[in-house]
């Protein structure tokens, strides 16, 4: 069953999940709603190429589909989805131990319409992020680039909220330190 974009827009996250469990067509709404932001997230925390990011996203959505019954209503759907994508990306990163160039990653993460000044700023930030340890990099991306709150980050990374706060502080210090070098 084909579900149009209009129908998807009229549904909230919980409705999409409950309907997806009964009718696979509604799973398209999850894809429509999160595809772009998830792909952006993959680029920000890794240096994968466009094709690899697509592949990760496909596998992640397959895992989301398989594990839809484990979704806990007390958690935001975005946390549930980001957690699976995050795990898939990190797992792939460890497996391939990829040595992708920074250039490629930056090219992937910017559209042609973006002003040059913004691109330069983004490149500068991404350059620093790439030099940071993974655990600091991912938490800064979630907090400042994905604009998530402590609870969401705690649910995605599966760490206590107190640890989220401490890690963000340490990550900020690390960011400042690297930026001065």
């Amino acid at each position: 069953m084909y579900i149009s974009e209009e129908i998807c827009k009229s549904l909230d996250d919980k409705e999409i999940i409950s309907r997806s469990l009964e009718n696979m067509g509604y799973f398209r709404c999850v894809y429509l709603r999160y595809e772009k932001s998830l792909k952006r997230y993959i680029f920000k925390i890794s240096n994968f190429s466009n094709d690899e990011a697509d592949d990760i996203l496909q596998n992640a959505f397959l895992n989301i589909w398989k594990n839809l019954n484990s979704y806990d209503n007390s958690m935001k759907l975005s946390s549930f989805i980001y957690r699976i994508v995050h795990n898939e990306t990190i797992s792939r990163w460890r497996k391939t131990n990829a040595d992708h160039s920074l250039k490629e990653a930056i090219i992937n993460s910017h559209s042609e319409e973006e002003p040059q000044e913004e691109i330069n700023k983004s490149k500068y930030i991404q350059n620093i992020l790439n030099k940071m340890p993974q655990k600091y990099k991912e938490i800064l991306v979630l907090k400042f680039l994905e604009n998530m709150d402590y609870e969401e980050i705690s649910n995605i990374l599966k760490i206590p909220e107190g640890t989220v706060a401490t890690r963000i502080n340490r990550a900020k210090k690390s960011f400042v330190k690297i930026s001065k070098i």
Partner: protein, 247 residues
Amino acid sequence: MANFDELLKKIQNEEIKQTPKWQFDLMNISSIAFFLLFVVIGAISFSIILFSIQQTDFELLSHMGHSKLEAFLSILPFIWLVLLVAFVLGSIYALYKSKKGYKFTFTKLIGFSVGLSVLFGTMFFIGGGAGWFENAFALRAGFYESIQNKKEKIWQNPDKGNIAGYIQNTNGHIIELKDFDGKLWEIDIDTAFIPPSVFLEKGEKIKVSGKIISDNKFNAEGLYPWGGKGMRNKMRRKMKRQRQKKD
């Protein structure tokens, strides 16, 4: 949307099914059940350690030239210490692996696991369960030497001035004592310190410190109750009898 269509095709062609909800529920319930089970085993181990502390005669043994630690280690069955550590670690892991386990800090995980094991263990010990359980375990596990056995070995040492057993007869300042090997001893208690908790009655299990005089004669310096289950009730009965006599 090409990617979603590919995903849909893959799901349909490979007939990929969603993991049923009951499997996730079972996993969640299992981790909580394991947490509780590990806490209970940890609690039992802790209660037996408390029981072994209670059964260690720290003051008496340190008078005999043993340090308090040496006395405690000589009676503590290490298996319970190992089990306590293992199951507390197990309960920490099971709690961490539960649905919301990642929300707890490491300190909280340790706090909950250790706290519950200590709480339940203390309650089990106060209720008298530790001694009963340890004894029952010793009867079924051939490799295991019970706390009582270890204690008996420490006190079955007349050459070093320790002797223990059951009172057979009392005759003035002489009592007849049958030790744990079945040997009969004549014990002179004339100058011995005898606390109120010692009952000089036939069948009473007591400990005696003093000096060996000959093959079956012993000069007591102090008599002590064997200790353990039933001591408080015996004390209450004795005090009641004394009050009745006074009245």
